[in-house]
Each structure stands twice: as C-alpha cells, then as structure tokens.
C-alpha cells in the first residue's frame, strides 16, 4: 500500500472511528430525565436530588424577548472545576433541554433552544462534586423578523 493511501485511510478513520461514540457515552444518555414532565422530576433523575442551592457564580444571558422557536442562551460558570452544565426550561412540556459534560476546565457554553412560553429557565452546574443552580427569567414574544 502506498504511504499516501495509508495516510488518507488513517485520516478517514480518525474521523470515522476516532470520534465514534464510545459505549459508555451511549449508556449515559439520560432518556428518563429528557422524558420528565416536571423540573423536579428531571432533577431527581439527573442528580438524585431536587434541592439545589442557588449561586450567583453562574451567569446566564438571553435576549430580552425571543421567539419561542429560537432563543440563544449563553452560560458562563464562575467555578474553577466545572464538570457539567444542565439547562432546564420550566415552561416546556419536557423541561430538561441540554446537558454539557465537560472533560476539561471550561467555563462557557452557548446554544439555541426552544422555549414554549415566558417563564423561568434553570441552569444547574456541577463543580468539584457540588451542585449549584441559578434561575433566569425568559420572555417569549412574537417577533416577525425571526
């Protein structure tokens, strides 16, 4: 085999298999939490407790008013050893929305989510084995431009 072909194969494989989803990850998909109809139910599924202390070290940023189909949420954790960040939208039929598991010190994540109605958004950060949460009000309105 030519070296060039081998290299190409190697690269293709790195992309195809190097990034494959390991078994442990598949087992880790919290489907029960995603099916939960209540915030407390989802929290219990995820962390085994719905009683989490509030912390202002978590910064949450959303637009003042957003379309229910697309609201950008930016989350910054002020904790040094942030392990995971979870996003829960209380007004959604299934509130649990996203879970970011961090394997390196990281502090910032952002994504766009659907929010059924104005209400509150909940972010739960696990840092150094401790759980912290913060609530953030969101407003959904009709925006023609979106």
């Amino acid at each position: 085999m030519q070296r060039r072909t081998l290299l190409k194969l190697g690269l293709a494989q790195a992309i195809a298999t190097g990034m494959v989803f390991p078994k442990s990850v598949k087992a880790g998909y919290p489907s029960k939490a995603f099916r939960a109809k209540q915030t407390s139910e989802a929290l219990l599924e995820l962390y085994g407790s719905a009683d989490i202390a509030s912390s202002d070290k978590i910064e949450i940023e959303t637009p003042a008013v957003a379309s229910s189909e697309m609201m950008q949420v930016k989350i910054r954790s002020g904790f040094v050893k942030t392990e995971s960040i979870a996003v829960i939208v209380e007004s959604n039929p299934t509130p649990f929305t996203a879970y970011f598991r961090l394997y390196e010190p990281q502090a910032y994540v952002s994504t766009r989510i659907r929010v059924a109605d104005s209400g509150e958004l909940l972010v739960v950060v696990k840092a150094d084995g401790q759980l912290h949460t913060r609530r953030h009000p969101v407003r959904v309105g009709d925006i023609c431009a979106v």
């Binding site: 190097g18 010190p105 994504t111 659907r114």
Partner: protein, 103 residues
C-alpha cells in the same frame, strides 16, 4: 451525505472560541402536517461530541427543545493549529463529523 457541520475556531489568549452550526431538522414529534393533521415523527440530535487533537473535551446530550439547525458555541483551552472536531448522532442513528484547525 452533504456536509452538515460548520465550525469556526479561533484562539484568543490561550482560549479557543468555537462557534458551530449543525444542519438538522430537529423535529420534536409534536408538529403536525397542516393538511393531513398527521404528526411528524421525532427526528433530533441526541449526542454531540467535541474533541481537541483527537481527545474528547466535551460530551453533550440534547433533547427535543434544541432549535432547528442547532447552534453550539463554547470556549476550550488550546492554541493556534490545534484541531477541533465535532460529531453528532441523532435518534435515527444518523451521524456526521467535521474537523477544523484553530486559526
């Protein structure tokens, strides 16, 4: 399959700022076809994996409340020339991945 992932990665003081968009319908399973009233079956991304230089740095689980054509941005330590790869897997078993080097 056509390319579904667009990634931009840029270094700023030892931090790599990554922005990406994945093309995906993200059907919740609740939407109906107007004419027939039949529900459109759910079709959404469940997992996203982010790697830097072939090592997993972040693993993301998504539900149905992520917007259509999901947007994902994050910061990770790293420097110019590092490779950032993103791959996704949806509930139908489709997947895609893409890689860029940090500018």
């Amino acid at each position: 399959m056509a390319k579904t992932i667009t990634i931009r990665a840029r270094e700023l003081n030892g931090q790599v700022r990554v922005k990406s968009i994945i093309r995906h319908p993200m059907e919740t399973g609740l939407r109906k076809v107007k004419k027939t009233g039949k529900k459109i079956p759910p079709h959404y991304i469940k997992e996203v994996i982010v790697s830097r230089n072939n090592r997993m740095v972040m693993e993301i689980f998504w539900g149905k409340s992520i917007s259509r054509n999901p947007y994902l941005a994050f910061e990770v330590s790293g420097s110019k020339g590092d490779s950032i790869a993103i791959s996704w897997l949806d509930n139908r078993g489709n997947s895609d991945s893409a890689m860029v080097s940090v500018r």
